[in-house]
Symmetry: C2
Subunit: 348 residues, 2 copies
Amino acid sequence: MMSYDELDSRKMMILKAVIDDYITSKEPVGSRTIAKKYDMGLSSATIRNEMADLEEMGYLSQPHTSAGRIPSDKGYRLYVDKLMNPLVTDLKPSEEDIIEICGYMQDKIHELNQMVKAASEIVSRLTHYTAIGMANNEIKHSVKALQIIPVDLRKVLVVVVLDNDTIKNQMVKVEQTLSTEELSRLSVICSELLTGSRADNISLEMINEIVGLSGVERERVLPIVDGVLDCIKQCDSAEIYTEGTANLLEHPEFNDVSKAKTLLELFNNEAEMAKLLQGCDNAGAKGIVVKIGTENEITQVSDCSVVTATYSLNGVNLGTIGVIGPTRMDYNKVISALEYVRRRMLPE
Amino acid sequence: MMSYDELDSRKMMILKAVIDDYITSKEPVGSRTIAKKYDMGLSSATIRNEMADLEEMGYLSQPHTSAGRIPSDKGYRLYVDKLMNPLVTDLKPSEEDIIEICGYMQDKIHELNQMVKAASEIVSRLTHYTAIGMANNEIKHSVKALQIIPVDLRKVLVVVVLDNDTIKNQMVKVEQTLSTEELSRLSVICSELLTGSRADNISLEMINEIVGLSGVERERVLPIVDGVLDCIKQCDSAEIYTEGTANLLEHPEFNDVSKAKTLLELFNNEAEMAKLLQGCDNAGAKGIVVKIGTENEITQVSDCSVVTATYSLNGVNLGTIGVIGPTRMDYNKVISALEYVRRRMLPE
DNA sequence: TGTTAGCACTCAAGATAAACGAGTGCTAAC
DNA sequence: GTTAGCACTCGTTTATCTTGAGTGCTAACA
């Protein structure tokens, strides 16, 4: 953790004013603006000197000689860590939003993925940025329920529920059909032997045991057992929900079409998106991590900030929701929204 | 069906040349260009006269006085119906595409939704436009398999497979737990009574019968039975896959950010997207429908064309895949791609 | 009568230049 | 240490000019 002792309180105050102003005005901010708008009993010249200092120290930068200052990543970092206004905890979503949210909140949503998707959508609405949701898959979850269902002569369906309430299913094509009795026996056997196991935890012996207990010829059960294992393994590839992609285009920093395109493509790349969220596991005090600009490992977002919140219940990590926007984002609003969702979605 | 007798073959030839050229060059095309590039033994002046006629008849228009001509919706219509080159049936996807496609085509994909999603992605890659896929939900499908699975003390999972191989599942919260035996009996009863039914086809009597046969107190089974019905009903709300949204920004007609935003928002609106695909049910000879510009009912796409293909197997409508792009799209390429996917995905 | 060469005309797009103004750094006075 | 004042910078805006692709029209031609 770096210290900011090099800055006296006046410099801090000025830096905060500059960033606050830039976040709302979207324009480089000059000394005179600060002097006028924020009554700190200083002339523009004084502020000018301070701003020159701040630039030299790397907290601000100038797009060109005769322009105002804009914050650097370092500046934002200090802002987020120390300067930002206290969170607005009474964030008031619009009427329409409330209706929408209530719709989702009906207790129909027991399934984690659904909940994550709904939460992401809410966050994106509240913030007007793009939100990404991912149910936790870092901790390997174990099987809570498992069933094999006959569908038709050539197909069976494997359904697995994990202990974090995600559901996976997989259709398996079978060459040689099994009788209903054989199948239901197999289902019970699999369920008994595999419940509690994790994907990385299933040994060859277990498989052999299942095949043996099933009382069916090896070549007839094996495809199905394979399907079951596939289905369990599949659970490691989390689904990712990206909501509010259109919001990107609201912000002037993405008026450049090629920039917007790069990001849109990133949004459609699940693997990269997962990386983006996973870089943020060592969550801070509140489980919220802010990555500013080049602090992100993915180069496409080096002029974006990513704010992620990790949600857990009873010590179990449920998932992560992230917000992605320009470095000039309203950090306060974003963090408030993520906190709002935490309060709203998770029982105390 | 309107007739185009008003056009002699020379006008047709010129119209075709103009549209062909415009589709590739993206620029309004002038008489001189046509005279030079397409050797039709006519001077630019003659072509100029013909183009003036074509404009008067509404097949072409001019962005401004001293510019070349661009096709109108009416022009595109005639082009698609009569003038367009025969399909390129030997469409050769790139090496990378082939690998990708083979990956999808592994016989893992038995589930319809997955297949539709994969097909949409392929189409979007082949065409560089945005593709939309939707498994058919217009014909109500009937239940092919159904099972109720205990998950934990307070939750059961309902899984339904329809006769078009879509899978739906729904988690149901129960207040008063049922024993495993009760649950499996209920599962069998539901399965026996509901298999073959459609969502709009389930009567109150059937529900009462299920409750009666279950041998469990009404208030304990009813939530679960409700969950089952919900799950079946849910099948009517088809999932829609939109692939290649980023491709939008490749085309100069969407350089205008606000236009792009409008479309991106549309893409995230499942209800509207479904409407877009459903307007195209009275499929033509090959099951492919082209809607040009204002022919679409949705105003946001009045400067786009939508090409949809309906796929069926053994007379059963499986689903629809659509491509959306500027009216100046490469209709030939798009239709070829949709046909390609038909050949590739559907066994003969 | 249909085709073509020629020419004046139009108009978007690009280039050039001037005026503007927001903002700076520096200096000197307070 | 603070501030008023001033010269300077440089992106933005506005106006003006030039260019060139393309047209419509007319008159001559086959």
